[in-house]
Homo-oligomer: 110 residues x 2
DNA sequence: TTTGATATATCACTTATGGATATATTAAGA
DNA sequence: TCTTAATATATCCATAAGTGATATATCAAA
């Protein structure tokens, strides 16, 4: 089922989903959470959501809570998932910092 | 030539390439720049590079310098490209901030 | 003159994303 | 009670994005 070496760098929807699952949430709640947190800017549809959930479960970054009934399956980030998220936050912060630096340096003689 | 509604949110390689082109650079130099800036962490191969260059030119976010000879075609971000990059930095900063907030809030009683 | 670095470009394959759709449950009204 | 909207999970399938491999060609140095 694919999965491979990807997830080394997280894409935007994967990043958002992992953020959402720092606290336990079921699928639909993830969609709503992301939409709210981004002021409706970023929407994750069901296809993207369940595709990514499957992949994250396969990679051991999230897991379904055992008691959760199938009508409302609750997921949460595993310890590995939290670690991964922390790394990804750092990685992305570097990107943002580089962007800001380059923009602010622009124009000024090198 | 494709292009569509994409480029609304920039993916990682597109973001890096646009950052590189805040100063004029030719293709190969972009590859090297990104590799250096990321300490070899993030590499952009030629296929990705030229695919994205084409797309960015089509979208008016970068342009080839008119004098540049075809053996060493130099590109640079347009005004629209700089604006886009600024927006993207803000968008990504929000994502990072959300990630940090969520991680640091975790565990503490809601 | 051969080799490695520079440089651009495309092919063809894989991966990622997401609209549309299907199905089922639940809660609130009329 | 019927019906409708919101909740909820899931997949199909088409499009978009990313990329290793490969093909060329030039240039500088040994």
């Amino acid at each position: 089922m694919a999965k491979g070496k990807s997830l080394e760098e997280l894409t935007d929807p994967v990043f958002y989903i992992l953020i959402a699952l720092v606290e336990p949430r079921h699928g639909y709640a993830i969609m709503q959470y992301v939409e709210e947190e981004t002021q409706g800017t970023f929407k994750i549809g069901p296809a993207t959501l369940y595709t990514i959930i499957k992949k994250l479960v396969g990679a051991g970054l999230i897991e379904a809570e055992p008691e959760s009934d199938p009508r409302r399956k609750t997921y949460a980030a595993t310890a590995a998932g939290i670690t991964k998220l922390e790394e990804e936050v750092v990685r992305r912060k570097r990107m943002v910092d580089l962007g800001m630096l380059v923009l602010q340096t622009k124009g000024r003689g090198k």
